[in-house]
C-alpha cells in the first residue's frame, strides 16, 4: 500500500464515478461496495435521511451480484495500480464460502473484506457479526476457501466488540476493519412515520466518530492483527486520531459524499502531519495514544 487511506465499502461504488474527481492511483487501496452471490434490489425508499452530524441509510446492499462484478467492474478496476479489496456478504455460511470460491483465481483482487453485519438465516436471523461463535465460523468458512488476505469488518452493534475481534482472528482473519454503521432511527413529527422506508437504518458520519475511536482502541488492546479504522473520518486530524488509537490504516465513508477529494487531502495531510513533527514513519504514531 502506498499510503494508509482507502474508501469504506459502499461509499465509493466500484470507483467509476469518483474517478472523474480524483486519481484512483493515489489511493492506498480501493474497497468496493458489498457484493452478494445474487443481485439484490435493495430496500424500499426513502433510503436516506440526514441527522445532526451524520446520516442514516438503509440502502439494503443493492448490488448486481458477483458475476456482474467480475464481468463488468473488475476489468475497469484492473487498469489502476491500486490493491482492490472486494467486500462480500451472504445470508448463510455457505454463501460466504461460495463467494470466496467464485473469487478464487480471478485476476485483480488483492484482498477480501467480509461484511458480517448480515443476518444468518439458519441461525434465526441473528447477525453473523453479533455473536463470537457465528463470527468465528463465518471467518473460518471464508478462510478455508481463499488464500487472499482476509479482512473482517466488525459491526458496532454489539456489547463487546473486542470479543468478536478475537473470535474472527481465531477464525483466520488477517486484519479487522471497524466500524460499520450504528443502527438508528428517526421519525417525522408531522406524519408520525419513520423517515426511512426500512424504519431503521445505519448511522454514519462525524456523529459516530467517538464511538468508532473507542472501539478501535479497545480492539487494538486485544488483537495483534492490523486494524482499519472507520467511522466519521472527515479530515486529516480525524484520521490521525484513529491511528493514535491503534489503527494501521483508515477508511473514509460518508465524507466522500461531502467532498470527493477528501481522501487525497487526508493522504497529503497525514504526510505533512508527520513531516511537521520530524517523523519519518507512520508507525511512530500508530497506537501511540497516551493513556
Amino acid at each position: 500500500m502506498k499510503n494508509p487511506v482507502m474508501p469504506a465499502s459502499g461509499t465509493f461504488g466500484a470507483g467509476r464515478e469518483y474517478s472523474e474527481f480524483i486519481d484512483l492511483n493515489c489511493l492506498g487501496a480501493l474497497v468496493v461496495k458489498t457484493v452478494t452471490l445474487r443481485p439484490r434490489d435493495g430496500n424500499a425508499p426513502p433510503r436516506l435521511y440526514e441527522v445532526s452530524s451524520g446520516m442514516l441509510n438503509s440502502i439494503g446492499l443493492q448490488n448486481e451480484g458477483i458475476d456482474h462484478f467480475i464481468e463488468h467492474d473488475l476489468p475497469y478496476l484492473r487498469q489502476f495500480d491500486v490493491p482492490i479489496i472486494i467486500n462480500i456478504a451472504g445470508n448463510t455460511l455457505e454463501e460466504y464460502a461460495q463467494l470466496c470460491r467464485e473469487i478464487k483465481g480471478v485476476e485483480g483482487i488483492s484482498g477480501i473484506e467480509l461484511n458480517i453485519s448480515c443476518p444468518n438465516i439458519k441461525a434465526g436471523g441473528i447477525a453473523f457479526g453479533a455473536s463470537s461463535r457465528l463470527a468465528e465460523q463465518v471467518t473460518a468458512a471464508a478462510r478455508y476457501n481463499t488464500d487472499l488476505p482476509l479482512i473482517v469488518k466488525l459491526t458496532p452493534n454489539v456489547y463487546n466488540v473486542s470479543k468478536i475481534a478475537q473470535a474472527v482472528v481465531y477464525g483466520g482473519a488477517n486484519a479487522v476493519s471497524l466500524i460499520n454503521t450504528l443502527v438508528g432511527m428517526s421519525i417525522d413529527t408531522n406524519t408520525f412515520k419513520p423517515h426511512l422506508g426500512n424504519i431503521t437504518g445505519g448511522l454514519s458520519g462525524p456523529a459516530i466518530k467517538p464511538v468508532a475511536v473507542r472501539m478501535v482502541w479497545e480492539v487494538a488492546q486485544t488483537v495483534k492483527v492490523p486494524i482499519i479504522g472507520i467511522g466519521g473520518i472527515n479530515s486529516t486530524l480525524d484520521a490521525i486520531e484513529f491511528l493514535l488509537a491503534g489503527a494501521t490504516a483508515v477508511a473514509i465513508g460518508t465524507a466522500n459524499f461531502v467532498n470527493p477529494r477528501v481522501m487525497i487531502e487526508i493522504i497529503d495531510g497525514i504526510e505533512s502531519f508527520l513531516r511537521q513533527r520530524n517523523m519519518s514513519d507512520i508507525r511512530q504514531i500508530i497506537g501511540k495514544v497516551k493513556v
Binding site: 464515478e17 469518483y18 435493495g42 436516506l48 443476518p119 452493534n157 459524499f257
Partner: protein, 279 residues
C-alpha cells in the same frame, strides 16, 4: 461532472424566502443541459454535512449559471445567507436532463411552484431550437408567481393557475392541464414540481396519449450515483434520481406504493431478511 470552487456574482431575494444566486463556472455552464442539477456544499462548519441539490435555472453561456431556491430547512437557510463574492463548493452538472430535439412540433412546460427552476432553462433551449412551446405555471397566489415575464417573452402562450384564483385559472396547475390539454394538444409535456402534482400531470398525459417527462426530487447524499440512496421506483426496478434521472419518462414511474409490492419488494432479486447494518 466537475467539482469547482465558484464565485457567487449575483444574489437576489426574488420574493420573500425565495433566492436566486448566479455562480461563476465556465466548465459547468459549458457542459450543462436543461434538467441537470448542481450539488452544493451549503454549510461551512454547521452540524449538517451533506450537499444540497438544485436545478440549473439559467445559463450565462460559457461563464456562469443561476439557481433559484426556496428556503425550507437548514441547508437552504445557510445558502440564503451567502453573499456576493463568497465562494461555493459546487459539483456539477449532474444527472440526465430533459430529452428534446428540434423536431418536436409543440411542447407544454408544466411547472408547480419552484418546479419552474429547470423549466426556464429548458424554455430558453427550446427557443434556440425554434421549438414552439407553451409554459403553464402554477403558484399559490399571484405574488408567488415567478419568472412569468421571462416565460411570456419566449413562450407561445403562457397559462397560469393560482390556488386562490388571484391570477389565471382558479385551482392547481394539474387541474388546469386537465382542462386544457385537449385543445393545446402538445406533442410532449415537460413537468417539474411537487410529487402529487407530477403524479396528476402524468395521469393526464397518459389519458390523452401525450408523451411526458417529469423531473423528480428525493433526498440525496452523493449526487453522483455512488451511494444508491436516492432510489425511486420504476417499471424497470429501482433507479437513482441523481444518476438515472432526475428526469424520467412519466410512464416508467410507479407512483403508488401498493403497486410496488408485487413487482419489487419480495421479488426474486430481493432478499427480504433485514440487515443490521443495512449499507
Amino acid at each position: 461532472m466537475f467539482q469547482v470552487n465558484a464565485d457567487v456574482i449575483a444574489k437576489e431575494e426574488v420574493i420573500p424566502g425565495v433566492f436566486s444566486l448566479t455562480i461563476v463556472s465556465p466548465v459547468i455552464s459549458e457542459n450543462a443541459k436543461p434538467g441537470q442539477f448542481v450539488h452544493i456544499a451549503c454549510n461551512q462548519g454547521g452540524n449538517f454535512i451533506l450537499r444540497r441539490p438544485f436545478s440549473i435555472h439559467r445559463i450565462v453561456p460559457g461563464k456562469a449559471f443561476e439557481i433559484l431556491f426556496r428556503v425550507v430547512g437548514r441547508g437552504t437557510e445557510a445558502l440564503s445567507r451567502v453573499k456576493v463574492y463568497d465562494i461555493l463548493d459546487v459539483i456539477g452538472p449532474l444527472g440526465n436532463g430533459f430529452k428534446y430535439s428540434e423536431r418536436i412540433t409543440s411542447a407544454l412546460l408544466v411547472a408547480g411552484g419552484l418546479g419552474l427552476a429547470p423549466l426556464l432553462y429548458l424554455a430558453e433551449e427550446l427557443t434556440n431550437e425554434q421549438v414552439k412551446f407553451y409554459p403553464m405555471l402554477g403558484a399559490q397566489t399571484k405574488t408567488k408567481l415567478l419568472r412569468y415575464i421571462d416565460f411570456k417573452r419566449i413562450g407561445k402562450k403562457t397559462y397560469v393557475a393560482t390556488d386562490d384564483g388571484s391570477s389565471g385559472h382558479n385551482g392547481t396547475v394539474a387541474d388546469l392541464l386537465n382542462r386544457t390539454i385537449h385543445y393545446i394538444r402538445p406533442e410532449i409535456i415537460y413537468a417539474c414540481g411537487p410529487e402529487p402534482m407530477l403524479r396528476k400531470v402524468a395521469q393526464t398525459a397518459d389519458e390523452f396519449g401525450v408523451k411526458c417527462q417529469v423531473s423528480l426530487e428525493t433526498k440525496m447524499a452523493c449526487g453522483v450515483g455512488v451511494c444508491l440512496g436516492c432510489a425511486c421506483v420504476t417499471r424497470q426496478g429501482y433507479k437513482m434520481v441523481c444518476k438515472d434521472g432526475p428526469v424520467f419518462d412519466a410512464r416508467d414511474i410507479i407512483w403508488d406504493k401498493e403497486e410496488i409490492e408485487p413487482t419489487l419488494l419480495g421479488g426474486y432479486r430481493c432478499e427480504t431478511a433485514k440487515v443490521s447494518d443495512p449499507g
